[in-house]
Amino acid sequence: MTAFLALGLLFQTVSPDAAEHAKAALAAKQRGDIKQAIIEFRKVTELAPDLAAGYINLGAALLEHHQYADAIAPLKKALSLNHSLAAAEQMLGYALLSAGYTNEALPHLEKNGDAGALGIAQVKLGRFPEAIRNLNAALEKHPNDPELLYYLGRASGLLSKQAFDVLESSFPNSAEAHQSLAENYVALRKLPEAEREYQAAVKARPDLPGLHLAMGEMYLEVPDLAKAESEFRAETQLEPGDAESSYRLGDVLLREGKIKEAAAELTRADALRPDMPETLYALAKAQSLTGDAAGAEKNWKRVIELEAHSDLAAQSHFSLAGLYRKQGKQAEAAREMSEYESLKHGPPSVQ
């Protein structure tokens, strides 16, 4: 973020004293002694008060030393001496943002084109849609930057909250407002309150897509499998093409021990959205319980192909081991157990 401008050329234009301090400052910087660099750069600005580069370097050193508020004055001075210094503009934006002067930072950040810093400032100012756009752009260049990821998550969450707040205050009796409240209650583990809100939502709009799916998921938390089944069934009737609700219905049927029905529904879910690992795993379990060992083996193997290192893959290895044991295939069972153990507990120790 900070940049030290080469002062070499400037040595010729300043007094020998100022040049000496500039050299000392650069040497201190080079050996990592930022404190000393700051002292030396400050002397350069005292001995050459009209030299913009002196102020920029002082500001940069202060930023590097995390003295953001202290960096603001020298960077402003640099810009007053030379309006075209892009580096000073950029660093001033960072310094102001880091010191909490977000409003003042914004025009400087807008000028220098750093989408990430601009996005962060916009999050702080509550300008979430613009922030999300800028942070996404920044993440395309730096996909693994934790700071950018954090602020993108925060901006998305706050934007979402803002929308729900508007929904609940402007349309308090709408199905969507009740659904939003219900989801908050679910997150707080207040399930009776959530159930009340969901029921109000259903009353307002019984055909609202996703509502019965969410209710079913809430009943799974209770857990009340019969009610969950009923809601998932309602959702699949409303949205027969939705793979998620079909999978949920199949999975709850399986948990209830309605194995044949579960196998049929999970087969339907798999057709609607092929290669969804959760569906394949549950379908394989249902197939195994209905005696379709070949189908179960195929689907558990497919889960492992799709996600080799996940919990679901470990569970699939475990299930395959059980299947092979029943078939008397001891070597295959041992191999699958070994894979399961390796995923669950890591590879065996060499000690």
């Binding site: 948990r255 209830e256 475990f318």
Partner: protein, 492 residues
């Protein structure tokens, strides 16, 4: 964690009596408590059943008032370990366990020191069985974890830390020498080769090789199935047998266990109770030493996914010839509702009737929610209907009298071993094709009526086959229903 209950006829008057294990005084600052047991409210309690079905507290006159300071009570095992015809008591504790010998005159004597079975640490369940078929009952003790007041620690937002926060420990196997003393054979039998966080225990010969095997319910880790090798040693085979984990390969909080044939195929199955959102694990014995996870097909997924279970029994409550399911329930944490409103510290017990291998919820008769722990099963009023007694934390116990009125026939059998142990524990009894294993252990920290009960449905008589641990097989034909039949082991 305590709450053990026993049903036993300690004075051989033909009526089942009740024994309850109590905890101990916990001091003002939890962590310097000495678990004082002097105050009568911390005594274990023995209640003698009177002819009119009421009970009289006979703790003091039976010599059971001294539970021992420092022994925070957990569970109880019952059997006639010295073959003198009177049931003895073994009480487990955090601290030291106590063996009470039944003197045959209404009193008990603490013989722990002589017998050498005090164990130590944190014991949970215990059970008597004859692992070497020598006619003398041996003793298995589960231990929970390596924990002490000094090393205890709090965990954020929770009353208790999960068991994984504390080191696992070994269980103990004591071999009965037959002279009133026991030998700790945990090491040489192989039992000490694996450490667990063990709670429930039950015995059955799952592979039909003539030797009793051991299932141990472990909390938050793999379960143990100790196969009896028939030569004084055991091999742990839970993973290979398919009973170590859930069907998804996940460990669960194993607490109570029963080891009986629920689907009348002649092979003992295993049910393990655990915490809410885990589903009680039902393992069907497929033969050849293998089991299949059957919680889903049996209906337990829907019945138990939201419950936490402890004491458990596969018992034929309606005498239709199919063993039903009873579970004492309640979450382990007394503040669980604050953490997750969908979970409950107090729950109603579960009664589920067995309809050809699928369990369907029924009315247990107890409408109140309880912090149920131990549960013992037996016929309190000798009417051929199995009753239940539940140990409840910080509350009175609950007795559930069976009011079934479907008129189905039944048969009870009292075994008397001669070459085998006198209680006949470990015998396999087949009546009209149904199998029962003679054992008092199982459930959670509790001991059941030693008599063997069969529901006969509409059959008014029964053919009986008894496979004694000695190897003797005895057959009785056309025995009338509606009675408790005494069967003494035949000479050959």
């Amino acid at each position: 964690m305590g709450g053990g209950v026993a049903m036993l006829d300690y004075n051989n008057d033909g009526l089942l009596d009740l024994f309850f294990v109590n905890g101990g005084h916990i001091g003002g600052t939890k962590f310097d408590s000495e678990f004082d047991r002097d105050d009568p409210k911390y005594w274990n309690r023995l209640y003698r059943q009177n002819r009119d079905g009421s009970f009289t507290d006979v703790t003091a006159e039976a010599g059971l008032r001294h539970a021992g300071n420092g022994n925070y009570g957990m569970g109880v095992a019952v059997a006639d370990y010295d073959n003198d015809g009177y049931p003895d008591l073994y009480v487990t504790s955090f601290g030291h366990n106590v063996l009470y010998h039944n003197n045959g005159n209404g009193t008990f004597t603490d013989v722990t020191a002589k017998a050498g079975v005090e164990a130590g640490g944190w014991s949970a369940s215990a059970g008597f069985f004859d692992f070497d078929n020598d006619g003398k009952l041996d003793l298995f003790v589960t231990r929970y974890m390596q924990w002490s007041l000094a090393t205890s620690k709090p965990c954020a937002r929770q009353t208790y830390c999960p068991p994984g926060e504390f080191p696992a420990v070994t269980n103990i196997l004591y071999r009965n020498r037959g002279d009133g003393t026991f030998e700790d054979v945990s090491l040489k039998s192989g039992i000490a080769s694996k450490k667990g966080r063990s709670l429930g225990v039950a015995f059955s010969d799952y592979d039909g090789d003539g030797f009793a095997d051991i299932f141990v319910a472990n909390d938050g880790m793999e379960q143990f199935l100790w196969h009896n090798n028939g030569n004084g040693t055991f091999s742990e085979r839970a993973l290979d047998a398919g009973v170590a984990l859930s069907d998804d390969g996940n460990p669960f909080a194993g607490m109570g266990v029963d080891f009986r044939d629920y689907d009348n195929d002649g092979r003992p199955d295993i049910i393990v109770t655990n915490l809410a959102k885990q589903t009680y694990a039902l393992y069907h014995n497929d033969g050849n030493g293998r089991f299949s996870y059957r919680s889903l097909e049996s209906g337990l997924g829907a019945l138990t996914a939201g419950s936490s279970g402890w004491g458990v029994g596969l018992v034929d409550f309606d005498n239709d010839g199919w063993k039903d399911l009873f579970v004492a329930q309640g979450h382990v944490m007394d503040n669980v509702e604050q953490i997750d409103a969908s979970l409950h510290y107090r729950e109603q017990p579960l009664l589920a009737l067995n309809h050809g291998g699928r369990f369907v919820k029924a009315d247990s008769g107890e409408s109140a929610a309880l912090a149920g722990r131990g549960a013992a099963f037996g016929d309190l009023n000798n009417n051929g209907l199995m009753d239940v007694v539940i140990g409840v934390l910080n509350d009175k116990p609950v007795i559930l009298k069976n009011r079934n009125a479907n008129g189905a026939h039944w048969l009870g059998i009292r075994l008397q071993g001669v070459r085998s142990n006198r209680d006949g524990l470990g015998s396999i009894v087949i009546v009209n094709g149904q199998r029962q294993d003679a054992q008092t252990a199982g459930s959670y920290q509790s001991a059941n009526d030693k008599r063997i009960h069969f529901g006969l449905g509409d059959k008014s008589s029964a053919d009986i086959e008894i496979r004694w641990p000695s190897g003797v097989t005895q057959r009785l034909k056309n025995i009338a229903a509606g009675q408790y039949l005494d069967v003494k082991e035949a000479a050959q």
